[in-house]
Amino acid sequence: MATTNDDLARWLARVALRDRAAFEQVYRATCTHLLGVAFRILNQRERAEEVLQESFMNVWHNAAGFNAAVATPMTWLINIVRNKAIDALRSGKTERGSTVALDDEAMAVAADEAQQPQRLLEQSFTRLKIDACMADLSAAQRQALALAYYRGMVHTEIAESIGAPLGTVKAWVRRGLDRLKGCLEAAGVQAT
């Protein structure tokens, strides 16, 4: 993707001034990535697209709240989308299992649900060149971290999903985050 964080930061500053063309530039440059993030959490294209739309409503109205000194534009956008997707996931939990039919894409994800978040996590480590540093995290620790980040699961759901005690899962997630912090700092990685 040719778009850089500098481009995004500039466009967001224009969006804060109600520049519709800049708003569309931000949308076009980031929507495929952001829909992917929402879809991993919600597992349904229609709901993920609703979250994407709500998120960009938020971007239009709150672009002035973006501060390039505090966050990179992509992180700011991902946070909006993740928070909305997580809220949507938790508010719709009861109806989701019973009444919403999974679409084809969701079925494909469900098929290897157990491995996929962990694979995404490992691809990230490789891309960030921190896989050697992260190597001493056990498979279970990785899976706990991956389910929390990519699927928006809370500790109890992770414990249920991988059949481990709640206290153990909390410790795994904590250890995963500590290790991630240490490895990113050691590698001098900047957020994308």
């Binding site: 109600r18 519709r20 569309e24 949308y27 929507c31 495929t32 990535h33 829909l35 992917g36 993030v37 879809f39 991993r40 294209r45 993920a48 697209e49 994407l52 739309q53 709500e54 960009f56 409503m57 938020n58 239009w60 109205h61 709150n62 709240g65 505090v70 966050a71 990179t72 992509m74 992180t75 991902i78 946070n79 993740r82 928070n83 997580i86 809220d87 938790r90 508010s91 894409e105 995404l120 996590l121 691809q123 990230s124 891309r127 960030l128 929390a148 980040y149 990519y150 928006g152 699961m153 809370v154 500790h155 997630v173 985050l177 991630l180 912090k181 990113l184 990685v189 957020a191 994308t192």
Partner: protein
């Protein structure tokens, strides 16, 4: 609890950023976030770290309807009127021209109402804005603002404020109806008081009830309506129902 004690703050910040903080704890921490720069920074650091993990998520092309919907929701009403000159203009443009003055006055009353009841405020992460809500302002035949109805988007309590008393004949009730888009059948929402304020439980979340509802109305009925009932009398009050987000 002192949320800002460094170790506790870091634990909450990382759990919030990751998403494992949930329910009441998440909402309480969001309130802390709105007030504390230290909390915002602690969360920001973790969000930057975790965002590095998003790079491996496969991209997905959204349908063009997402962008068209955004244009429609953000720009269509404003394009018909004057260019948006303030954050409120888009909202104003949604309200009918004739009652615009009264409607905006009503919205600002709503702001005051919400400000005076901090318990109603919450949930919207990282902004100082009002929470996502549905707001209705009903006027009488003379166009005078009469009922202000508001409810949090994911809430199931409707706050009704009577801006002027309504004459409800003995033996009748003032019944509030939702009028769905595209001429769908009106469905009963709640009975409103003749004067003063009330908090009324709704049958479902506002989002479920009002997502497709651009208009509200009040009729006088012999008894409170139940699901499936239709209005029997004339609408004595009508108004717009808008999304406050």
């Amino acid at each position: 609890m002192n949320y800002l004690q460094p170790e506790r703050l870091d634990r909450l910040a990382r759990e919030y950023a990751l998403g494992t903080l949930h329910g009441g704890a998440r909402r309480r921490f969001e309130r802390v976030l709105r007030q504390s720069a230290a909390a915002g920074l602690a969360v920001g650091v973790w969000q930057e770290r975790l965002a590095t993990l998003a790079g491996s998520v496969p991209a997905m092309q959204p349908s063009e309807a997402v962008w068209r919907g955004l244009e429609q929701r953000l720009f269509a009403p404003a394009a018909a009127a004057k260019p948006a000159s303030s954050a409120w203009a888009w909202l104003g443009a949604l309200l009918s021209g004739r009652t615009l003055g009264g409607a905006l006055a009503g919205v600002f009353l709503c702001v005051l109402l919400l400000r005076s009841q901090p318990g109603l405020i919450g949930a919207e992460p990282q902004t100082d804005g009002l929470p996502a809500s549905y707001v209705g302002l009903l006027t009488d035949a003379a166009g005078k603002p009469t009922v202000l109805a508001s409810s949090r988007r994911q809430g199931n309590v409707l706050t009704v404020k009577m801006l002027q008393p309504v004459a409800v004949p003995a033996g009748q009730v003032a019944q509030l109806w939702a009028l769905p888009k595209d001429g769908g059948a009106p469905f009963p929402v709640a009975v409103v008081p003749a004067q003063g304020s009330a908090r009324v439980a709704l049958a479902a979340t506002s989002e479920k009830l009002f997502f497709n509802v651009p208009r509200l109305a009040v009729s006088l009925e012999a008894r409170p309506a139940v699901a499936g009932d239709k209005p029997t009398g004339e609408f004595v009050l009508t108004g717009n129902c808008v999304k406050l987000w």
